[in-house]
């Protein structure tokens, strides 16, 4: 299947090579068509969402459906922000996400440095414990964690959503540690000769050289926090404290007949920050996905 022209023996008969490359280009052509169809199918839901978001109330429920509305109604976006306090939710989400990103990056990069560079008895065992927490379903700790936060009086505050991120995230530590290990130890030695302590090595050698990995961790933390639903649903009770996902769900449950055009408009607005980050940091993001998936 994965034939490559370059793998054909250079000494092969011209006739054989010719037949092979014809078959090869047909194969690539067929693949390209299938991939393109798949890409269109992937994009249809998004197109449908955009199309619905600019339809008038009447046209939303038109059968057969109309892809391009007879009149493009941008006011649905304004209405959506009035039906629910969308802007307040957006500020709340941004507030939480910003603090989570900072917490995750700072704490995980420190911990990863310890595991990548500093020797201590039992370190390997601790790293194994760290890896196994990645496999632990969050549900096991869900109830006790809630009870702890309740005892602290933190229910209906943002603390339960933010504070845990300052205690390092196993996945981020793993990713950063793998990256730090690729930085040559000679650089550490050079810094030591110049009189740097461990903090100096971390700050002047490791951190500046790890910007791509730190960006990956930051981006993953951003997506996880921005899209997270169960945590905010459990901990936030006051409507004005809701995040976007909880607010969107509220939108759904509080309206007898669903205003789908407004709902889709609000969903589009909720997705925009993610899409922007994705388009600007696509390579970083995809590399991060690959790195975590290929560790097998």
């Amino acid at each position: 299947m994965a034939t490559d022209v370059s793998t054909a023996p250079a000494t092969g008969a011209v006739r054989l090579l010719g037949r092979k490359s014809v078959r090869h280009s047909v194969q690539i052509g067929v693949s390209a068509v299938i991939i393109a169809i798949g890409a269109i199918v992937t994009l249809i839901p998004l197109a449908w969402m955009l199309s619905t978001s600019v339809k008038s109330n009447g046209e939303v429920f038109l059968v057969p459906i109309r892809w391009i509305p007879s009149k493009i109604v941008l006011s649905t976006y304004v209405q959506a922000t009035q039906t629910i306090p969308f802007l307040i939710y957006a500020v709340n989400s941004a507030h939480i996400t910003l603090l989570v990103v900072i917490g995750t990056v700072v704490s995980s990069s420190l911990v990863a440095f310890a595991f990548a560079r500093l020797r201590a008895r039992g370190r390997d065992l601790m790293f194994l414990a760290l890896l196994s927490t990645m496999m632990l379903p969050a549900e096991v700790t869900l109830v006790p964690t809630y009870l702890i936060f309740k005892a602290l009086g933190w229910v209906d505050t943002y603390n339960p959503l933010i504070v845990p991120s300052y205690f390092a995230d196993a996945f981020s530590v793993f990713l950063l540690r793998q990256f730090y290990m690729t930085i040559p130890l000679e650089l550490d030695d050079a810094a030591k000769i110049d009189g740097s302590g461990y903090t100096g090595i971390y700050w002047r050698i490791i951190l500046p050289l790890s910007k791509p990995a730190l960006a990956t961790v930051a981006i993953f933390a951003f997506f996880n926090s921005w899209n997270s639903f169960e945590g905010p649903l459990i901990y936030l009770n006051t409507m004005t404290k809701y995040t976007i996902p909880v607010g969107l769900n509220f939108f759904l449950t509080e309206h007898g007949s669903t205003p789908w055009n407004q709902m889709m408009a609000a969903s589009v607005m909720a997705m925009i920050p993610c899409l922007i980050v994705f388009f600007f940091a696509q390579r970083t993001f995809i590399q991060g996905t690959v790195l975590t998936g290929l560790k097998g």
Binding site: E139, F223, M263
Partner: protein, 312 residues
């Protein structure tokens, strides 16, 4: 470890090693403290709670094995939620795996514009959560949704999807296929990481395209398939957001995913002890399934340089 032992044998380096160890604990302290407060502590509490009744208002009371007896013998909804989760996994995991793998194979063939296609396929994975759930509710709407309208276009009367007991799980499976971009990229990277010389060697041995596929590509990619399969099983047990938002378990509990049932027990019925027992049942099921996959892996997973250690 050997190096540490060496360091300790010389007294002068001994103090250096101690300084290094102290630095380790300082740098690792966020995780070490976090491990105690957010993982180890809660696990102990959860285990204790699973042997108790606790409704948050009155203090917990020890109830022995009651919760476990109840959930194993006297709660039809546990079995219903296991059935829902299992059926969904049986549909979504193999289908997702095959689709993602086939797409990756196609994209690995020097097709022009790969970067663009990769972006498109990956996009749905980026916008996870509630907006996606809302979008799919609208797509799957029996009367006005795009799916049934497309089916009507080719003369098929579409099912009621989320409103039908028999079609709600297929609807969730369909939705899961929209986000195969992430595993696809992992497979693609895996395929691109297969050393070219293996294919060349196979060719010298007279292998055709099919034989190269079955004897080089498949063996080289199985560790990744294996990893994705485990992640898929764990993921199915944790499905919450789409189930909560789109159907809330309905109709007639036909989409009562295990994660949703656990949430309901904890935060709707405030049965904290029972929810903890459910969490431990889930923990052991996931552990057993993962071990099953790991133990069976020597029969179908190829690790370069002998047997691997199960994905770490």
């Amino acid at each position: 470890m050997a190096r540490i032992a060496n360091a300790r044998s010389s007294p002068r380096r001994g103090s250096l090693a101690r300084r290094e160890e102290l630095a380790f604990y300082l740098f690792a302290s966020p995780w070490l403290i976090g491990f105690i407060i957010w993982i180890a502590g809660p696990m102990v509490i959860s285990l204790l709670l699973s042997f108790a009744d606790y409704d948050i208002i009155t203090p917990p009371s020890f109830s022995g094995l009651d919760n476990y007896v109840q959930l194993l013998t006297n709660d039809d909804l546990v079995w219903q939620s296991l059935k829902v989760t299992g059926l969904y996994s049986l549909g979504a995991i193999p289908l997702g795996l095959i689709t993602a793998f086939v797409l990756a194979l196609l994209m690995n063939q020097k097709v022009r514009g790969i970067a663009g296609f990769r972006t498109i396929y990956y996009m749905p994975a980026v916008i996870a959560g509630v907006p996606v759930a809302l979008l799919w509710m609208w797509i799957l709407n029996p009367d006005f949704g795009i799916l049934n309208n497309a089916l009507a276009f080719v003369g098929i009367t579409g099912p009621k999807w989320l409103f039908s007991e028999s079609w709600v799980i297929p609807a969730f499976v369909l939705m899961s296929l929209w986000t195969i971009g992430a595993p696809m990229i992992i497979y693609l990277a895996g395929l691109q990481g297969i050393p070219q010389h293996l294919y060349e060697a196979a060719e010298l041995d007279g292998a055709g395209p099919w034989s190269k596929f079955t004897h080089v590509t498949i063996p080289m990619i199985t560790p990744i398939i294996f990893f994705n399969a485990i992640i898929g099983v764990i993921g199915s047990f944790q499905i919450f957001t789409p189930a909560y938002v789109m159907t809330n378990g309905g109709p007639a509990n036909a989409s009562l995913f295990y994660g949703l049932y656990l949430y309901n027990n904890a935060f709707r019925y405030f049965k904290m002890g029972y929810a903890s027992a459910l969490a431990w049942l889930m923990f052991f099921i996931i552990l057993a399934l993962s071990l099953l996959v790991v133990r069976s892996s020597p029969y179908w997973v190829y690790y370069e340089g002998g047997r691997g250690d199960g994905g770490i």
